[in-house]
Subunit: 189 residues, 2 copies
């Protein structure tokens, strides 16, 4: 998606540890118009697929998922990372290791919001090693739902998550795949 | 807002500790159409106010804020609760006590995304004791921005946050104010 790639080049910055910082428009301050274009593009990429629900993970996936959901006319469910009195006790759980935060955490979705046989599209802002995606897929499997595929804004193509999903025949649509960040320059696949 | 009140009565449940559980449509599974009506209503309530940016707090405020932002044509910034390698070191910080989670946490906004003199509207899903709201107002003050007011989906009117803000002349627009939950029945103000 050319608009997103241009924006990454214009406003993204690289930081130590292969971090691509896009918090001026995607995951801290949020450019709503850009998100809307991203949502339209996800709809175009999954236009032939039946989607009953969009699944994402808090926190930064939520913005992109709810704007995309307007183009699919389906509800969003977001997996929670934190314990809360407000969450049902009866949840599907999985475990995710975050390289960015260097810790392992449990993600949870109430069993009430994933019904057997539903077609679930995963939407998230980033895919790198794919740990969050694997956790969400695990939850979809536990709920006996069907995984439609994954819509990702930015994939780090130099990490293994995306290609691992593709090699298993999973439909993965990444709108910008960063192939390399060597010498401080962002090169797309 | 009648539509929201009806939905709270229909799908909301009461749990121990004055918890009003609306996770089937507002803060775990998200009804996008309802959120869009909520966004429209916030715009109507603040139509005479100049708003440059919407500020919210992760995680459940994000969905409501980004949908509302489409009606204001402004960016959203969300305060972060967790340490992250991706966050600038140079942040405005405040401390918030969460009754729901029974812990104190630090919220942070990068100094780059709140500019002196900007008019900031706070949007969030819930207001109870007002601790999160006070943290966000503190950050707005530290950044020398102007607080336009607060748009809240559900206010717990039997807790003191809302009336404390109103008594200080702050413009607070709550779309549904729950005055009482006695005997398991939700009564609106």
């Amino acid at each position: 998606m050319e608009l997103l790639k241009q924006r990454i080049v214009k406003d993204g910055t690289l930081k130590e540890g292969n971090v691509i910082k896009v918090d001026s428009f995607l995951n801290h301050q949020i450019d709503i118009e850009l998100l809307n274009e991203i949502g339209k593009e996800f709809k175009a990429r999954f236009v032939s697929d039946k989607v009953d629900k969009i699944l994402t993970i808090e926190a930064s996936g939520i913005a992109i998922a709810v704007i995309a959901a307007q183009h699919f006319n389906v509800p969003v469910v977001f997996a929670k990372k934190t314990e809360s009195k407000n969450l049902d006790n009866d949840t599907y759980e999985s475990t995710v290791y975050s390289y960015t935060k260097d810790k392992t955490y449990t993600i949870r979705v109430s069993k009430r919001y994933l019904n057997e046989g539903e077609n679930i599209l995963i939407i998230d802002d980033f895919l790198a090693n794919g740990k969050a995606a694997e956790g969400l897929i695990d939850i979809i499997n536990r709920a006996n739902c069907n995984l439609v595929g994954l819509g990702i804004a930015i994939e780090k193509g130099f990490q293994k998550g995306g290609d691992s999903l593709r090699s298993r025949g999973i439909k993965l649509e990444s709108l910008a795949i960063v192939q390399s960040t060597e010498n401080g320059k962002i090169i797309f696949r």
